[in-house]
């Protein structure tokens, strides 16, 4: 569609009428002559009339064209699409994508990138004309969107659209360029307007434009298609040389954090700037109370790490904040981490062979290994052990334990197994030791269930020498496994283990949820330790016994260390459930004793909503909350019912933090995606190299975007051609006028 940079100059098009007016005036202004030699005049006239008419018309046409084209050139005529389309209507559909990811909150001077982008978007809307049928669609670029990404769809009510844009705010999300272009493509496909312009108002982050290799091809095809169907104008609202510090990761040193044990929180601080920063200040905050401050040296575009040690005194939910010193983008300076501090890890040991004498007891070694103290006051271990006979096991509620150990258990029933399955499936840990009491047929039937049960492998025959003259050891271990990763330095010690007997276990190598951790040095390389993921929980099978009946492991240093690590691994609840990124849904399993009809959730902005647990078959109650739109700590409280405490709340552990206030059930840490904090910009040339078929026009390099620049049409050399045409016509006119004039003379 044809448009003009200087439409005011079009008034000069009237000048195109000048030659015609001169011609007409000349026809009006003539001298009168009484003429006698009319016959000769008529004869001459008869001969020249046709030629004269053509010549005059030609010259007149050239002169009119010269003025007309000159006017077009001065008005800087350009074509938005093909010149043919320019002959039609000029209705426009503007699709404005405004980047509202958190990186746009970067502020230098008195405006953030987003505020500048929003202002530009408003100006873009102002430049449209509803009188010629213009429409505007506005979409936000951060995903998942807060509300709807489509702020306005093909609206003609520009006032309303402007109001919607003015109400937009920066989100805590990342930019999703793929989704943005996909959505723009859908709008463009549905638009019936002649001209379609897709404005992308963004801060040009490299991480956003550079797609992962798996998506790059698809993305390139998408943006190429969009640029074919519409003019793409990328408006850069970034600030020059942005610098940003952010905390990218917090990691506790322990998988299970209990009271009175020191835990180290290690944080990764990234410096996204071209300058080295020495002594960047980092604060350590626990439960909103500043605890410690340290400094870190950060290389340019590099990473530094800080560590803070802390010992939680009170059990229950806690949160940690690690905060780097203030910079121009505040949102990612803090990172939060939620921990559930336990008083101790509760382990239920189901003893298949309780002995009268201590050393005959199946689990005596295991008990000592995990908690050598017999005193209830002196706390030497994080484990709190409870041992029961396998006969009474069925009546015990296993759900309140962090780990259940089956040691040489012979009495298994379907009810017991179902109970265990529900427990593991909900996230519990199960450690199974074998021994002479077990019946492999029952185990295979009830626990293995052809691979569908808890048992990681089908049990075969007992291997080894009953006379204990011949022994095996472990010759291969998978130290990459979480249960063994800290034992790598003791690798050589495993070969010295003495194992006389073990059950042969047949694993299905195709199953991805089953993993062998250790193998015996028998001819078949039989598995010694096998893990199976079951629901949200884990099951570990040790194919030999827990006591000294089938091996000589108890009493050895390695025995203590292996089972300590294994128990820790199995009992640890991943912190990930409560440490999520913005936009990720919260899904929390509620144990029976934790049940309340309603929970209140307080957002970091102190907004409150009430959520109720929903029962899911076989999994119990689940609390779900999807609107984790802002980063920070969300607090989940159990709400007391009208008649008093919930009837199931008796088992609720008393927490000092709950005294005098609402019962804090859990915290939830919602963090921003650290990738968005990388403000490095991609240049237009790089973009062209990356996506060669993507045609776009980039405006506003380094925040120099001005209104004139934005409303400026695409660089078009049409006006140049018009000037060439004018020059050509002038030369032609001179030649023709001279030639025709020669006849006249």
């Amino acid at each position: 569609m044809g448009s003009f940079i200087n439409p005011g100059m079009l008034w000069f098009a009237v000048a195109g009428a000048i030659p015609i007016i001169i011609h007409l005036l000349n026809r009006q202004r003539y001298q009168k002559v009484r003429w006698a030699a009319m016959e000769f005049l008529l004869e001459a006239l008869k001969k020249t009339r046709r030629r004269l008419q053509i010549e005059n018309l030609l010259l007149l046409l050239i002169r009119v064209m010269v003025l007309f084209l000159l006017t077009l050139a001065l008005s800087r005529c350009y074509f938005r699409e093909s010149p043919l389309v320019a002959l039609g209507t000029v209705d426009t559909h503007a699709i404005i994508a405004l980047d509202n990811s958190y990186s746009m909150d970067y502020k230098t001077g008195n405006k953030t990138c987003f505020e500048q982008g929003r202002k530009i978007a408003l100006r873009l809307v102002d430049s449209l004309k509803t009188s010629q049928g213009d429409r505007v669609s506005v979409l936000t670029m951060a995903r998942p969107p807060v509300g709807s990404a489509l702020v306005s769809e093909g609206s003609v009510d520009l006032k309303k659209v402007k109001k919607s844009i003015a109400n937009l705010v920066v989100s805590d999300f990342r930019t999703d360029l793929f989704e943005t272009f996909q959505q723009a493509k859908d709008i463009i496909d549905q638009s019936d307007k002649t001209r379609k312009i897709f404005y992308v108002v963004t801060d040009m982050q490299r991480v956003v434009w550079e797609m992962p290799p798996t998506r790059q091809q698809e993305f390139m095809e998408l943006i190429t298609e969009v640029s074919k169907k519409a003019e793409v104008q990328i408006i850069d609202v970034s600030k020059p040389e942005p610098a940003n510090f952010l905390v990218t990761k917090i990691e506790p040193s322990r998988k299970i954090i209990t009271t009175d044990t020191e835990v180290t929180f290690r944080a990764e601080i990234r410096n996204h700037s071209p300058h080295v920063s020495n002594h960047a200040q980092v604060n350590f905050i626990v439960d909103n109370f500043p605890q410690n401050t340290t400094t870190v040296n950060l290389p340019a575009q590099g990473v530094g790490t800080v560590s803070f040690n802390y010992e939680f005194i009170e059990p229950g939910p806690h949160w940690v904040e690690i905060k780097v010193e203030a910079d121009n983008l505040a949102i990612d300076n803090s990172r939060y981490f939620v921990v559930d501090v336990k008083e101790a890890l509760k382990i239920l040991i189901i003893n298949g062979e309780p002995g009268v004498e201590s050393f005959e007891d199946e689990v005596i070694f295991l008990r000592y290994a995990l908690n050598p103290s017999r005193s209830e006051v002196e706390k030497v271990s994080i484990y709190s052990l409870e041992s029961i006979s396998d006969i009474i096991f069925e009546e015990t509620d296993v759900k309140k334990y962090d780990l259940v150990i089956l040691a040489n258990v012979s009495f298994l029933s379907q009810a017991k197994v179902k109970n265990l399955e529900e427990y593991v499936s909900a996230g519990g840990g199960l450690l199974i030791f074998l021994g002479d009491k077990i019946d492999r047929t029952i185990y295979n039937e009830l626990l293995y269930k052809n691979g569908n049960g808890l048992l990681p492998a089908e049990l075969g025959l007992v291997q080894g020498d009953q006379s204990h003259e011949e022994a095996f050891s472990l010759d291969r271990l998978d130290f990459t496994h979480g249960a063994l990763e800290y034992l790598r330095p003791l690798k050589s010690q495993f070969g010295k283990m003495v194992i006389y007997e073990f059950y042969q276990a047949k694993t299905d190598p195709d199953r991805k949820d089953v993993r062998v951790l250790a193998w015996f040095n028998d001819v078949d390389s039989s598995p010694a330790m096998i893990e199976k993921l079951f629901g949200k929980g884990k099951v570990m099978l040790v194919t030999t016994s827990a006591d000294a009946e089938w091996n000589l492991m108890p009493g050895r240093k390695l025995y203590v260390m292996v089972y300590d690590q294994m128990v820790m691994y199995l009992a640890a609840q991943p912190f990930g459930f409560k440490n999520i990124l913005v936009g990720q849904p919260l899904q929390l399993l509620i144990k029976t004793h934790e049940y309340a009809k309603n929970f209140s959730l307080v957002t970091p902005q102190q907004g409150m909503s009430t959520i109720s647990p929903v029962q899911i078959q076989d999994k119990g109650f689940v609390l779900t909350y999807n609107r984790t739109e802002r980063h920070g700590i969300y607090t989940l409280n159990r709400m007391a019912e009208a008649g008093g405490e919930s009837e199931l709340s008796e088992d609720r552990p008393a927490s000092p933090m709950n005294i005098g206030g609402p019962a804090i059930f859990s915290y939830l840490a919602v963090n921003v995606d650290p990738q968005e904090g990388n403000l490095e910009q991609i240049k237009a040339e790089e973009l062209k190299q990356l996506y060669p078929n993507f045609k776009f026009r980039k405006l506003g390099e380094l925040s120099k975007t001005s209104e004139a620049e934005i409303t400026k049409p695409p660089p078009s050399s049409i006006w140049k051609y018009l000037v060439y045409a004018v020059l050509f016509l002038l030369v032609l006119e001179s030649i023709l006028a001279q030639r025709f004039g020669a006849f006249k003379k």
Binding site: Q31, A36, A37, M38, E39, L41, A44, L52, K744
Partner: protein
């Protein structure tokens, strides 16, 4: 001595309104320029006496009567001439065109008057025919002063108004003139040249000597117009508004073609054709006449 030659210039002549004076000045200017006229001394025959009035030439005083009666009488002679001349003056509307100070008709009138004067001076009989598409006035040839005055009167009173038809006039005159003589046609000849020639052929066939003075205006010969012009057609032509510049070439070509046809055919018919521009001096006309007169005289003596 009066510089008569200046009166050969039409621009000077135009300032003089009296035709007789014009004629006298033209002829005397012309004669003065010749120094000696070779055509003087033509024999004359006595006609009558009249009483002397002051200013009469004493050479013509009849001394014998004076001796006898002491009265002064002037001898008047009847010119003995062998030439009858008709001046055919075109009074059609086209002759009224003027671009300068004199119209073609004015110029033609001056020529006619001058020739008449010269002829009367040389005792040739001169008559006048005024014509357009028909003969408007005929004065038979005579050679006295009174007659000359009558010719001047007719010329003065003539008003060019209508179309020309030279062929018709020529045929008319061929029938009307019995005696052989000289016909001087003074016209712009804006008519069909072939028709003109047909008429002239008839006159020639009747033994008439013909001199044609084709009087054209300066503008008609040069077509000097450079701006948009409305040409109001004389002689019942329609008006034309046009840019004259691109027409000039073809106009001049058409005019040249016309005069070439006339000149060539006149030569063939032994007609003396002279094209005169109103910007030219008038002696051209007189010279043409005298040359023809001389030739006729010589033929007559033979």
């Amino acid at each position: 001595m009066e510089d008569y030659q200046k009166y050969l210039d039409p621009r000077v002549l135009n300032k003089i309104s009296r035709l007789d004076l014009k004629a006298r000045l033209i002829v005397e200017g012309y004669i003065a320029g010749l120094h000696k006229s070779p055509y003087r001394g033509v024999s004359v025959e006595f006609a009558t006496h009249r009483e002397y009035v002051p200013g009469d030439d004493l050479r013509h005083l009849d001394w014998k009567i004076f001796g006898r009666s002491d009265r002064l009488y002037i001898k008047e002679y009847e010119q003995e001439t062998n030439l009858n001349c008709y001046l055919l003056l075109d009074v059609s509307e086209s002759m009224a065109y003027r671009s300068g100070e004199m119209s073609k008709f004015d110029y033609g009138s001056a020529i006619a008057a001058s020739l008449a004067y010269l002829m009367v001076q040389q005792q040739d009989a001169v008559g006048l025919v005024l014509f357009d598409r028909e003969v408007r006035k005929v004065i038979p040839p005579r050679s006295n002063q009174v007659h000359f005055n009558a010719i001047l009167k007719e010329i003065s009173e003539a008003q060019p108004t209508r179309q020309t038809d030279i062929k018709a006039i020529s045929l008319n005159m061929a029938d009307r003139i019995e005696k052989r003589g000289l016909l001087i046609i003074i016209s712009d000849l804006f008519d069909n040249p072939l028709n003109i020639l047909k008429g002239l052929q008839r006159l020639r066939h009747r033994g008439q000597e013909i001199i044609i003075f084709n009087i054209l205006d300066e503008a008609e010969l040069k077509f000097p117009f450079s701006r948009m012009t409305q040409f109001d057609g004389l002689e019942e032509y329609q008006d034309i508004i046009t840019d004259p510049r691109p027409l000039r070439r073809d106009y001049l070509s058409a005019l040249n073609n016309f005069t070439t046809i006339l000149r060539r055919n006149c030569l063939k018919e032994r007609i003396d054709y002279t094209q005169i521009s109103t910007g030219q001096n008038l002696d051209v006309a007189l010279t043409a006449y005298l040359a023809t007169r001389l030739a006729t005289h010589k033929l007559g003596r033979r």
